[in-house]
């Protein structure tokens, strides 16, 4: 997997490459994260853990680029999620979503071009 243009959300990977996404809540708040891949495969992480992960394989028959949208829910004034995306070698993508201005949550979308 590669990170492009210095943008942690702009990724590419090989067809069939396994991508692992790990999210950690660093301030001890509940881990409130839901995600959807290409608007089809949806799930959530376990709110009881401070860190949790999920994996999937890149499949250009489904969509290229793969779009991974993640929704983060905040519960306090200092929530902070660190997101790490790794493939089977290559770069590691590091990104963070932090609570500010008492907003209830935020979403980000990764694009993963399949090469």
């Amino acid at each position: 997997m590669r990170v492009h243009n210095g943008n942690a959300l702009d990724l590419s990977g090989a067809q069939g490459e396994q991508i692992t996404v790990t999210v950690k809540e660093t301030t001890g708040k509940p881990l409130l994260v839901s995600f959807t891949r290409n608007g089809i495969h949806t799930g959530s992480l376990s709110p009881g853990n401070s860190s949790d992960s999920f994996s999937f394989q890149l499949d250009n028959a489904e969509r290229d680029p793969t779009l991974l949208t993640m929704l983060f829910t905040f519960t306090g004034s200092d929530d902070h999620y660190d997101i790490t995306v790794k493939g089977q070698g290559g770069d590691t993508s590091l990104f963070a979503v932090a609570q500010d201005f008492n907003v209830p949550g935020d979403s980000i979308t990764y694009t993963i071009d399949i090469t």
Binding site: G6, N7, A8, L9, D10, T27, G28, K29, P30, L32, V33, S34, F35, T36, R37, N38, G39, T42, G43, S44, L45, P47, G48, P65, L67, T69, M70, L71, T73, T75, G76, S77, D78, H80, D82, L94, F95, A96, A98, D100, F101, N102, V103, P104, G105, D106, S107, I108, T109, Y110, T111, D113
Partner: protein, 612 residues
């Protein structure tokens, strides 16, 4: 050749200033190859600039048309065609779903302003103006305080998301190791990150989602006014939580004393004031989150001044002579923590239902409305606006981002395509359900018990000083009801010389039920109706000016009905109360009294004036 290379680079630098990007070159490429690449890049950037100029020209024509000015038909020109393979250019990609372009008027037909034209074709498209947004310093202060107090938001969803986007863009420009961001001074908006707040802006712009624009303003659990023992207070019961930085209250009337008075109370949070005074600045001090700060946040103090005292009675001087009491308040037990295991199942249910439904909607809307790889919207009107807004942000300095973004958001388009409107409807529905689902769990958490301790040093006029030890318990129940108990013991700081009188002056028990109501309009927020009662036993006859007032020992019962009306988005609350007592401390006669007052959270003023 060097001269040629230098001139190419100069032109390139100028064009970069309007938002162009240059791909990194391979270090091993020859000078000729680099020149060729630069020239190709230059041609591409020139094409972008042409399109930017054309977009500005068309927007100017639209503004003139909307202003009622007639624009000759010949002036209306077609948008430049997108170039295939132009991935970084702010134009729709050819391989992505696209909206039909807005209908263009025939040269011989009367020119119709595009917004009206779209609204006529699409009744769902509203034409609301963007609401006026307050500055982000004020929004930061108010929203942080509301978060800490688990209080209803005095800022709108829109204001908070816009200000957060301001901060995010600033962080991209300046870099932020905590967010894993490397400084990029020409950073602007990025749909991979900003799609969510931009959808909220469009909801507000469309004018249908009122919940995005309104502040909630119905907080009931913050004690701003003075303790009930002060002369002139309208509070019979002390509440469990306190303002984050500093509160101010001026109230007229009296509950348990036989004299009226005017009491001015300053109630503050130790952490916020200490850090501000340390020169860290009001806002940055607020963001600190060390364990000591966390503890200090649970600690508050207050000073009350009686303006009727001192050398200039009736004038507030703030000197020692006018201090009528001071206090320290600490939260001892607080189960209002979303991390607690008792709320885990609630969060699981929330994630598996509304949160997953919402993220699916976001993902679907993203695919339909945008091309994140090219950082473009598929809606032509939206894309035209986005190009200019993004360019303006890219060329702005970090300190200009707030002004530039606010300005650009006020120009967000109203003439959105049917597809965009449909996706906004879906986003609106799921966004509201997600916010409501989250809030219902936070409301449940906010009803968990709080136990606090308060020490008050009371300095009544013409009497010995007193120490009051007050335990405060607060519990929420029902839809939004709030119940508070107080149990207090008051002691003389010096043993009275009167025979038969010991150190314990009195003990008291009090309770209050708060019932919030819906908004009443006319610029008012959500009023809160309260019923309160207090029973006090005086252990000895009261004293005044060193003299014992005979036959004043015994029980005092006080009841109160109070209505607090907040002025929307101002931090101002106006309490009206009606109280009745079997007697006062000095007179064994029934008494009925009406009080009114005015309270204000000084945090709002501090944020505006930035005194630190």
């Amino acid at each position: 050749m060097k001269k040629r290379l230098a001139s190419v680079l100069v032109v390139l630098a100028v064009l970069l200033a309007v938002g162009g990007t240059v791909k990194a070159q391979e270090s091993h490429a020859s000078i000729e190859e680099q020149i060729k690449q630069k020239e190709a890049e230059l041609d591409r950037l020139k094409e972008i600039k042409k399109r930017l100029d054309k977009v500005r020209e068309l927007q100017d024509e639209i503004r003139r048309l909307e202003g009622g000015e007639n624009v000759p038909a010949g002036e209306t020109t077609q948008s430049p065609a997108p170039q295939p393979g132009d991935s970084s250019a702010p134009t729709p990609q050819n391989d992505r779903p696209q909206e039909s372009p807005a209908p263009q008027p025939e040269p011989d037909q009367p020119v119709v302003p595009p917004a009206r034209l779209v609204a006529a074709a699409n009744p769902a498209a509203a034409t609301a103006d963007m609401p006026t947004l307050r500055d982000c310093t004020t929004i930061k202060t108010l929203s942080d305080e509301d978060a800490r107090n688990h209080a209803a938001n005095r800022t709108s969803v829109l204001e908070r998301y816009v200000c957060r986007t301001v901060n995010k863009i600033k962080a991209r420009k300046t870099g932020d190791p905590k967010l894993h961001l490397v400084a990029n001074p020409s950073a602007g908006m990025n749909l991979r990150e900003d799609f969510f707040p931009l959808m909220i802006v469009l909801l507000a712009r469309e004018g249908r989602a009122q919940y995005v624009i309104d502040a909630e303003n119905d907080s009931v659990d913050t004690q701003v006014s003075s303790d009930s023992s002060s002369s002139g207070t309208t509070s019979l019961v002390t509440k469990g939580s306190v303002p984050a930085i500093l509160g101010f209250a001026v109230e007229n009337g009296g509950l348990t004393r036989s004299t009226n008075g005017s009491t001015i109370t300053f109630r503050g949070n130790v952490a916020g004031l200490a850090k501000a005074a340390a020169g860290k600045g009001f806002i940055s001090g607020y963001d600190e989150d060390s364990p000591t700060t966390r503890f200090l946040r649970r600690t508050a103090f207050s000073f009350s001044f009686d303006a009727a005292r001192g050398d200039q009675p009736g004038t507030f001087t703030g000197n020692k002579q006018q201090i009528s009491n001071y206090s320290v308040h600490v939260d001892l037990y607080n189960k209002r923590d979303p991390r607690a295991a008792r709320y885990r199942e609630d969060w699981k249910n929330f994630l598996s239902t509304v949160s997953e439904a919402f993220v699916t909607q976001i993902g679907k809307s993203f695919i339909v409305l945008a091309d994140p790889s090219a950082n473009t919207w598929n809606d032509p009107a939206l894309q035209s606006w986005y190009v200019l807004a993004d360019a303006a942000l890219r060329t702005s300095k970090p300190e200009e981002v707030e002004r530039v973004l606010m300005d650009q958001l006020s120009k967000a388009p109203k003439n959105l395509s049917d597809t965009t409107i449909t996706e906004l409807r879906g986003f609106d529905k799921h966004f509201k359900e997600w916010m409501d689902g989250r809030q219902s769990i936070l409301d449940k958490i906010a009803k968990a018990p709080i136990v606090s301790f308060e020490y008050i040093n009371d300095r009544p006029l013409n009497e010995g000083t007193l120490s009051k030890f007050n335990m405060i318990a607060e519990l929420g129940f029902g839809p939004k009801l709030d119940l508070t108990f107080n149990g207090a013991l008051t002691m003389f700081n010096k043993r009275p010389t009167t025979p038969g009188v010991n150190r314990v002056r009195d003990f008291q028990f009090a309770t209050e039920l708060d019932i919030p109501f819906g908004e009443i309009g006319l610029g008012m927020g959500k009023p809160v109706l309260s019923f309160a009662g207090r029973w006090e036993r005086l252990m000895a006859d009261a004293t005044m000016a060193g003299l014992t007032v005979p036959n004043t020992k015994g029980d005092i019962g006080v009841g109160q009905i109070k209505l607090v009306i907040p002025i929307k988005n101002s931090g101002v609350r106006i309490p009206f109360s009606f109280s009745f007592a079997n007697r006062t401390e000095l007179i064994r006669e029934r008494e009925v009294r009406g009080n009114f007052g005015f309270t204000f959270d000084l945090d709002t003023i501090f944020a505006r004036l930035k005194p630190f």
